[in-house]
């Protein structure tokens, strides 16, 4: 089963990459209020059933794919 995981810096954490992207596009005349840059991870995970596959993917996220101190994540099943 495939899962897509979005990892973004927490809103209260200074995201230097997002800030730089926003500043650069602002210089090019775009009206950018803010920008966050994160990661998009696609996992293909084995499991006896969908629940187990989902549990495996979640376990990987919690083991280190994201850092709970500075990042949030969202996961969805994809084809």
């Amino acid at each position: 089963m495939k899962f897509a995981i979005k990892v973004l810096p927490k809103p209260e954490v200074l995201d230097t990459q997002g800030r730089t992207v926003a500043e650069t596009f602002t210089r090019h005349g775009f009206d950018v209020k803010s920008c966050q840059v994160g990661r998009y991870i696609v996992l293909d995970v084995e499991g006896q059933n969908p629940e187990e596959a989902r549990a495996n993917a979640t376990a990987m996220i919690k083991k280190g794919l994201y850092n709970p101190l500075i990042e949030n994540f969202e996961m969805e099943e994809i084809k």
Partner: protein
């Protein structure tokens, strides 16, 4: 015996500097390869050197933190063994959960390589017989060195005297000027600047040499 384990990961590049630093203090450094577990009882202390483990993939230190040698290092922590992480080593110890906080991209977005003055805020029981309030001069060289911790986490650090070192002129935007922290027990410490690059007068300062001493525990 004074055997000190020096951990090496793919991309570690300050390992020989650490080896030399420990030798200058009369210690007996030993390499520990990241793919191997080890028995913590065979060493008095451990140093995790700087570098760019795994090319900083995912997050600085994140993949190194998941290696077999780190499992053994966690056992060493349980025995109260002194553990010291420098630069990327500090990032690895934070990612492994052995130290609080996270190291993020410098506030200015750039790699900064310059001399910094560090003030010792609190004595660490395990590492280095330094004096409170003492200032140490040494180079820093990193892009991901902005120490971050939540407000509640910072309060906790203050309450438990876990702030080890602070920058005199915070070059990277670290929370509360923090350059180095220790764990609650006081046996694990980490810092972003490089004491291993300030060992002799010809290097510009020998302040760093003071950092390579520790109090061995029986275990």
């Amino acid at each position: 015996m004074s055997r000190v384990g020096v951990l090496r990961f793919p991309g570690t590049n300050c390992d020989r500097d650490i080896w030399k630093s420990l030798e200058l203090k009369g210690k007996n450094p030993q390499w520990i390869w990241f793919e191997e577990t080890f028995s913590p009882q065979e060493f008095e202390a451990f140093v995790v050197p700087g570098g760019f483990s795994y090319g900083d993939y995912l997050r600085s230190g994140a993949l190194a933190a998941l290696s077999p040698a780190m499992e053994s290092l966690k056992e060493a922590d349980k025995l109260g063994k002194p553990i010291f992480g420098i630069c990327n080593g500090f990032q690895i110890l934070c990612e492994a959960g052995l130290l609080p906080g996270a190291l993020m991209r410098n506030e200015g977005g750039r790699f900064i390589d310059q001399w910094v003055d560090l003030k010792l805020e609190n004595l660490c029981p395990a590492w280095s017989p330094l004096e409170k309030g003492q200032v140490h001069s040494m180079p820093m060289a990193h892009a991901d060195g902005r120490f971050f911790i939540s407000e509640a986490g910072l309060e906790e650090l203050k309450k438990n005297n876990q702030i080890w070192l602070t920058y005199e002129n915070n070059p990277n935007g670290s929370v509360a000027n923090i350059a180095g922290v220790m764990n609650k027990k006081g046996n694990v410490v980490g810092m972003m600047p490089h004491p291993d690059r300030a060992l002799f007068d010809w290097m510009g300062s020998r302040d760093g040499l003071r950092f390579f001493d520790y109090k061995a525990v029986q275990a």
